[in-house]
């Protein structure tokens, strides 16, 4: 389970600070070494707001390549509302890279 980061069920403004710190710690530990991609799982995400989405989006503006695993319905729905479906599609496919949308 260490190989992927599980986003919390409540991915919102209330958990944002904690989630960011946890993510940064996890990245520092697992980093890109030995892994082609950082794998971020959104399967547990049941509640999400703009702040939560922004947190995940900020990953895209980092050096490390990452990809999104198993986005939950709530996560997908939020992305659809903000027109970010293409973006998560780009993250979840095999060819996903970091970089601009």
């Amino acid at each position: 389970m260490n190989e992927r980061f599980e986003l919390p069920a409540e991915l919102n403004i209330y958990s944002a600070l904690d989630t960011r710190d946890a993510l940064l710690a996890w990245i520092a530990e697992h980093g890109p070494k030995g892994h082609e991609y950082l794998e971020i799982s959104a399967r547990d995400v049941a509640e999400i707001d703009g702040a939560g989405l922004q947190l995940v989006a900020s990953l895209s503006n980092m050096e490390q390549a990452w990809r999104l695993i198993e986005p939950s319905d709530a996560f997908t729905d939020a992305c659809r509302t903000l027109g970010l479906l293409n973006w998560i599609d780009g993250r979840s496919g095999k060819a996903a890279h970091s970089g601009a949308v």
Binding site: I13, A16, L17, T19, R20, L23, L24, I27, I48, D49, G50, A51, L53, Q54, L55, A57, S58, L59, S60, N61, M62, E63, A78, T81, L82, G83, L84, W87, H97, G99, A100, V101
Partner: protein
């Protein structure tokens, strides 16, 4: 020193400025009149504004402060109209026309301060007061208000419309308990989200991210019947901390697109968008720095500036597309607009004169080459001649201008004349793009003006009289132009009362133009209005104030080798047809010989050539006779007899069948010499009275050929000129019958 140089430059460039400004002023007038008819035409309004702006701008360069000051007020009003604050009413239109007159006056008298009399100053001050009353009275303290009002008015019955909503949320948004996601959801519930793009490129990398600050922005296209207030309501709690731009359906993007199209050539995408106001300089910098971050990545991954501008700066995609398109055009080096060079008319005339000489010299060379019987030389000459012909056509083409420019000047005249006469008229211009030699266009303007005024004054009835006659209250006046076998036909058509033949005849009898009691054919009665001495003094002052009578109109048109014909339908209207040759300088001719004399016929009038039995045919003293052509009687005029050319008549002669306004007729000649380019030279004063000849030409051999005027020759052939009282010979009687059948 440099100051002197500046002054020199200004003095030199001044005439060009004045002529350009005159064109702009003319354009303003035309646009205003068009705008009266289609007040919602945005393009017209924009062009109008541009014209005024150009006049103001270039007047500024020349330090013509009076023009700049005055035009500025006009520009302000036009700007308000563009913003939709002020709608064009007939009053405003009249005011603007008057202002345009004033601008024209100021430009015309630019070099002469003394021309600006106290009277003109008062007039100008009055105009400024009226302009300001309009612009100040409508000034809106809140800029968004008029747009909202306009939208509400337009949106009420228009059903769902696509709004472009661009929102950039402030950093405090999340902390204030607000969420862009829920706002987007709420907006989605108002209608259908056509498109949404969320700007996440501005979100800092995770390491630098303050997760409680908001960095998001989105650009949404929402199709909804909701009002602007409803849409803005969704943002009511974030208003203080959010850059919101709700753009009325389409307009913003379209406006930007147009602005980009009209821009001078600025190569960089960002610069273009900044200068049309699609994005601020600061935002552009921001976006550019974001793009910088993606440097060094593979090309496919690199963020495109256009995309970034769309998502982050909320630039409408069509504006980006237009800017990209413009960039592409510039790269391809294709000029986006047609280019013009201003050339002095006399330089062009000099070239055309030389060309005439070249044509003659070329013909001489061809003749010599033929005589030498050297095939190579003949071929070289033929090639040269075909090139000369192309140059001839091309050069004459340079002088061609659309008659529409002259026509559109009449709009104002018609408008003003009709209103001063208390008449209503719908004025139409058809075929304004037909081209005519520039010098002809200038010379035809006055006669046309006279005829147009004549139609308004005498042709069209006052509204009440029209209604009584079962016609619509507003009269119709159509000015049209089209090409017709080497000539241009200009027609002035009205649906007025036509020519009252009885009154015309009565007046002609009274004035001794026609023998008392003699009743000529209808068409001839109509043409009497062009006879010298027919117009009364009262008419002259009424109509033109130039002292030009209808006889002068006809003389001017005939001086251009043109003809004028009337087609009157009493009670229904009058149609005046003016036919003019396309150019005055060179025509394609058909060379014929009679004895030792050479004559040229305009090639386009020649229909066919038949053989005839020479001296066996009896002719009258004017050389007229008839032949049978495929069962019809063809009147023929014998040049040898008409011009008493000394020659012995051969057994067989040729008859060139030509078509004229009066129908077909034949010209009997002895030798056919073929086609040639004919440079028209005017006839000397002595020969002006010669009937049937319109000019002369010098042939390659140095001989002089006379150019036959088909129309007046037709008159000679049919005997129509011999008037209404002269007894007609049996032959001419037969000819007349043949023609009228």
């Amino acid at each position: 020193m440099s100051n002197d140089a500046d002054l020199d430059f200004i003095a030199q460039a001044m005439p060009a400025f004045i002529s350009e400004a005159a064109e702009q002023i003319e354009a303003i007038e035309t646009l205003l009149l068009e705008l009266e008819e289609q007040p919602d035409n945005r393009e017209l309004l924009d062009s109008l504004f541009r014209c005024a702006h150009t006049v103001k701008g270039s007047a500024g360069i020349f330090g013509l402060n009076r023009v700049v000051e005055f035009t500025h007020h006009v520009e302000t009003l036009l700007d308000k109209m563009r913003d939709g604050d002020i709608a064009l009413t007939p009053d405003i239109s009249t005011l603007l026309l008057q202002c345009n007159d004033q601008i024209k006056f100021l430009v015309d008298t630019a070099a002469d301060e003394s021309a600006d009399t106290a009277e003109q100053k008062d007039l100008r001050a009055d105009l400024v007061v009226r302009l300001r009353a309009l612009t100040d009275g409508n000034a809106q303290p809140v800029q968004a208000a008029p747009a909202a009002v306009k939208q509400a008015a337009g949106g009420a019955d228009a059903g769902p419309q696509v709004w472009t909503i661009s929102a950039r949320f402030g950093p405090e948004t999340f902390r204030n308990g607000m969420d862009p996601l829920s706002i987007a959801r709420y907006l989605g519930s108002l209608g259908t989200v056509v498109r949404i793009k969320c700007g996440i490129d501005t979100v800092p990398p995770l390491v630098n991210l303050n997760p409680e600050s908001c960095y998001l922005s989105f650009l949404m296209e929402l199709e909804t019947s909701s009002s602007r207030e409803d849409i803005e309501g969704a943002f009511s709690f974030v208003m203080d901390d959010c850059e919101l731009d709700v753009v009325a359906p389409e307009t913003h993007g379209q406006k930007l697109v147009r602005a980009i199209e009209e821009m001078p050539e600025t190569p960089r995408l960002g610069d273009m968008l900044v200068s049309v106001g699609a994005v601020s300089q600061d935002k552009l910098k921001e976006v550019l720095s974001t793009q910088q971050q993606t440097r060094g990545m593979p090309v496919v991954e690199k963020a495109k500036i256009g995309d970034l501008l769309e998502t982050q700066a909320g630039v409408p995609p069509e504006a980006v597309a237009a800017a990209l398109g413009k960039q592409q055009k510039l790269r391809e080096g294709t000029p986006s607009e047609e280019r013009y060079i201003r050339v002095q008319a006399d330089r062009l005339d000099a070239v055309i004169n030389l060309l005439g000489e070249l044509v003659i010299a070329g013909a001489g060379a061809t003749l010599l080459a033929r005589e030498s019987h050297q095939v190579a030389l003949i071929e070289a000459n033929l090639h040269m001649n075909s090139l000369i012909e192309e140059i001839r056509n091309g050069t004459l083409g340079l002088r061609m201008v659309p008659v529409g420019e002259t026509f559109s000047r009449f709009r104002r005249v018609v408008r003003d004349t009709a209103s001063s006469l208390g008449k209503e008229v719908n004025f139409e211009i058809v075929g304004g793009d037909a081209e005519l030699d520039k010098s002809m266009v200038e010379k035809i303007a006055d006669p046309l003006m006279h005829l147009v005024r004549n139609s308004l004054d005498h042709g069209l009835e006052p509204p009440q009289e029209r209604i009584n006659a079962g016609k619509p209250a507003a009269g119709k006046l159509v000015l049209s132009a089209r090409h017709e076998t080497g000539a241009i036909l200009i027609r002035i058509e009205d649906d007025g009362r036509g020519i009252n033949r009885e009154r015309v005849l009565q007046r002609a009898w009274n004035r001794g133009l026609v023998e008392q009691g003699v009743v000529p054919p209808d068409d001839d009665i109509n043409m009497l209005i062009f006879e010298p001495g027919f117009s009364t003094a009262e008419q002259v002052t009424n109509l033109s104030g130039r002292g030009v009578g209808m006889d002068v109109v006809r003389r001017n048109i005939e001086a251009l080798r043109g003809t004028i014909r009337l087609n009157s339908n009493p009670g229904k209207g009058l149609q005046v047809d003016i036919r003019l040759p396309l150019t005055l300088a060179i025509i394609d001719g058909f060379l014929v010989g009679v004895g030792k004399s050479k004559f040229v016929l305009p090639l386009e009038s020649v229909v066919e050539v038949i053989e005839s039995g020479g001296d066996n045919v009896k002719v009258d003293s004017h050389g007229r006779h008839c032949v049978e052509l495929r069962g019809a009687v063809l009147p023929v005029v014998r040049l040898r007899t008409l011009y008493t050319v000394e020659s012995s008549l051969p057994d067989r002669v040729s008859i060139v069948v030509v078509s004229s306004l009066r129908g077909k007729f034949g010209i009997e000649v002895e030798v056919l010499l073929g086609q040639n380019q004919t440079v028209i030279k005017p006839l000397g004063r002595l020969f002006r009275t010669l009937r049937g000849i319109s000019g002369s030409s010098i042939l390659g051999s140095g001989e002089v050929a006379l150019i036959l005027d088909v129309t007046s020759l037709a008159d000679l052939a049919t005997g129509a000129l011999h008037g209404f009282s002269a007894a007609q010979t049996p032959v001419t009687a037969a000819v007349s019958t043949a023609l009228s059948s």
